[in-house]
Amino acid sequence: MRKIFPAEELARDGRFIRQTNEQRMGDPRGARIAGGNSGDRLAKLTPELANGPDRARALMHGIFVGEIQALEGAGRTCWDFEVGEDVPLELKLDMARQCWDEARHCEISVALAEHMGTELGEYAENALLYEAACNPDPVLRLTGVNRALEGLAIDVFNTMKEFGNMAGDPVLEFCEDWMLADEVTHVKMGSDWLRRLTENDKERLDKALEFQKVVDRLFSFNGFRGEEDDSPIQLTRRFRELAGFSDDEIDEIADMSREARVEASS
């Protein structure tokens, strides 16, 4: 088995259809995000919207394929790097633990898809998350995946948890609550390893934070994730703090989203 397994070759059964980044970005109606398209002025995701339940369904399917890719990415980090030469054993142990967590998240997502009436593979899949997990530098990989993407997962899960709460859906709220707890742990793993592995390497730290920004920006179309009342996905300060983000870092993500929003509306 090769080291660094390309995103295009991620193995899926016939139910799943992959959408390439070119296709996704080339959609003149705006790239799909948060159960809608970034071209629309997406309102905050609540059950009160006429298409709220359907958007939640689509978003949940996005979460499901995201969980598969998170599982695959963490698994690859166990394989792609050598203990001692590239990474400490403890980092790999964390990644193996994450594999188990993400496998459970897949199981939870499958159950939720059934609950919400979604077929597996009902929506197109893009491999953006896994692509970040192909970075050949383990520090950059963990920063991009565990801090940027899993950080986004915190925001998404919290939004979904609130959606379940507002709709009085005990199943959705219960599931999101548990997944949220795991994701905070994963983001914290990213924060801890970033600090430990770059303790005496300012250059690598800067590179990793830059990569995190690139990934964060990729997921900031239209500022769909932000702190404004009508942001489709709400930025979650409390959980991000628990996961090792400083106030400045959270402010920076909020600013980035605001800028993306202004850019999109102009």
Binding site: Q23, D27, P28, H115
Partner: protein, 180 residues
């Protein structure tokens, strides 16, 4: 054969074919017993899934491009999705023409609960005709509007399984969840 006029005639943002769409609409219309001309206007710029009846007589329908889209393959036409969208609209027209729906408020005056309840009754019938389906998806939508409870689930069953409810009956079944 039912005449269907689709606008626009050609698409820039999605890979749809007006002729194919016309055929699918005509097929659904014939299954439901329509013989008149149907006009369908598509807003291809919108990937959302909204749809509405802009005129009952003559029949004029309006949909977001997204309401006809194959969710597995963005920008591609989805036959099953289109059948579901068009089928629901046409059944509502049939219902209003039946005399059983004379007291139904105008479409824009219906609230989310009423819409969800009527939709369930439409899709249940469409499924039995082999046109639509996705029972669990409709149940999830219905629960979002009527509560995640046994009462709501029983109401859903009744709406889904019945073949010819009147508006008063739909209102009562939906309303019972409200009071419960």
């Amino acid at each position: 054969m039912t005449q269907v006029s689709v606008t626009p005639e050609s698409f820039e943002m999605v890979f749809y074919d007006a002729a194919v769409i016309g055929e699918v609409v005509a097929e659904v219309a014939e299954r439901l017993g329509f013989e008149e001309t149907i006009t369908l206007e598509i807003d291809e710029r919108s990937p959302l899934g909204r749809s509405k009846i802009t005129s009952y007589d003559p029949i004029e329908l309006w949909v977001d491009g997204g309401a006809l889209e194959n969710t597995k393959r963005p920008r591609q036409f989805g036959t099953a999705r289109a059948r579901d969208t068009i089928g629901r609209l046409l059944l509502r027209i049939l219902d209003r023409r039946s005399g059983r729906f004379n007291e139904t408020p105008d479409d824009d005056e219906l609230d989310l609960m009423q819409f969800a309840a009527w939709d369930v009754h439409c899709v249940g019938r469409l499924e039995r005709l082999g046109i639509g389906g996705q029972r669990q998806r409709r149940l999830y939508q219905f629960r979002n509007r009527h509560g995640f409870s046994d009462v709501a689930d029983a109401a859903f069953e009744q709406l889904w399984d019945s073949s010819e409810l009147s508006w008063t009956e739909i209102e009562r079944i939906s309303g019972d969840c409200r009071t419960a």
